[in-house]
């Protein structure tokens, strides 16, 4: 983009021409819209943005953008994103995925990514189910939800991603609802601009396997308190809320992890001295 024709990028500039294969009604459509709107606001050119994902319905996002993308294996978006960002600090790196990909198989990486605090934004589209594999409980599914794989429900306490993120060290934690595309977009912009590891949990109904989640639109409500920079306070809030509070929960002050990386690969290395007897 030269100075002469420097144009304002719109959300459309960040969309590819590949049509999503999601079920009509899926919350991910709105989230994709919010992501591209946020990118237009942040205004890094598409070639300087990398969208990294694992496996699942929401992990299909990279190919629906016009940015560089990596559709990796199940649960491993965060290490992919981490390796890329650490070695290419110049790029804007965004990781996307779902609740199964991120909190089940990806749980270990999730925890350590929060801890490591590399400057990344992680967008989790939480539909509280495994959609791509036809409807099994995920870590965030309520314990009584009946399914073919776990008849009668898991009986297990759902995973609490926001609290885990806070405890592990995430620097920015928010929850939004897919139906609020503009609010989600604004939150994504803030997350991107906030240094360190930013987590946005987006409640995103799965109309095929959890049609009852269409009711979420009626249940979500903006949080009645401002974001806090007190990690413990934030944890207490989210441990005691109804799970439908939306907004930015926590903005922290940890310095992002970004060791110097500026190798000159053409320069030869010489460690001979240490091998001489």
């Amino acid at each position: 983009m030269t100075a002469e024709n420097a144009c304002v990028l719109t959300a459309r500039d960040y969309k590819s021409d590949l049509k999503p294969v999601w079920c009509p009604g899926c919350g991910d459509f709105s989230i994709l819209m919010a992501i591209t709107m946020a990118m237009a606001e942040v205004a890094r050119p598409p070639e300087e943005v990398a969208v990294i994902s694992g496996i699942g319905c929401s992990s299909r996002v990279p190919a629906y953008t016009s940015c560089y993308g990596f559709h990796g294996v199940h649960g491993r978006a965060l290490p992919l994103a981490t390796g890329l960002k650490l070695s290419r600090p110049d790029l804007l790196v965004i990781a996307t995925g779902g609740d199964g990909d991120g909190y089940s198989i990806g749980g270990n990486h999730f925890m350590h990514a929060c801890r490591r605090n590399v400057d990344l934004t992680y967008i989790v589209m939480d539909n509280q189910v495994y959609g791509m594999t036809k409807g099994q409980p995920s870590p965030t599914t309520p314990p009584e939800w009946d399914s073919a794989l776990v008849p009668g429900g898991t009986g297990l306490r759902p995973f609490h991603p926001l609290v885990i993120a806070l405890a592990a060290g995430a620097n920015f934690v928010a929850r939004t609802f897919s139906g609020d595309a503009k609010g989600t977009a604004q939150t994504i912009v803030e997350a991107i601009n906030h240094p360190g590891f930013s987590l946005i949990e987006i409640l995103s109904p799965c109309v095929t396997f959890r049609p009852e989640e269409r009711e979420w639109a009626k249940q979500v409500h903006p949080a009645s308190v401002d974001p806090t920079d007190d990690r413990a306070r934030a944890a207490r809030r989210v441990l005691t809320d109804d799970g439908f509070n939306t907004g930015i929960l926590y903005r922290g002050k940890r310095a992002p992890y970004q060791p110097a990386f500026s190798p000159d690969t053409t320069a030869s290395v010489d460690f001979e001295a240490e091998f001489l007897p």
Partner: protein, 171 residues
Amino acid sequence: MSASDKTNDREALLAHAYAIENETAERYQDLADQMYGVNNVEVGDLFTKLAEIEAKHAAELATEHGAANTSMAAADYAWSNLESPESIPLGEMHYLIQPHQALTLALAAEQRALKFYTEVATQAPTDELRALAREFAQKEAEHVALVREWLQRYPEPEQDWDVDDDPPVQP
């Protein structure tokens, strides 16, 4: 944030109107794409037609009122609802949605747009603005009438409209 707060001058009103029509056209087109993607051709065609109508409206705003020369930051658009008043929310879709249901949603969307401009028409500070808003409201009323007419061509869906004997596929 009410409609009148952000449409206190001609440029603002035009910018809003232009944005509404463009977003709506885009939304209808996206929905049409979704419908074609699930082989719901009848509804896809309906949305395509609606997209064309909205796009035409937007073009008229540009040629007759110079709307394309206005500009406003995206964040300045403050809709009373979560989305642009005239857009069908993405979450309302269903892969088996029937024409009657789709048009019902379109009707509601057009009615929201009508309401938006009607409010501006009563609350705008100047005569010129109120007139402009009335013009836009009139256009929306025409859309409402059109959608009502289309609705009559389609019966209400059967009880089993969303029955699919095949289980979901694991891609």
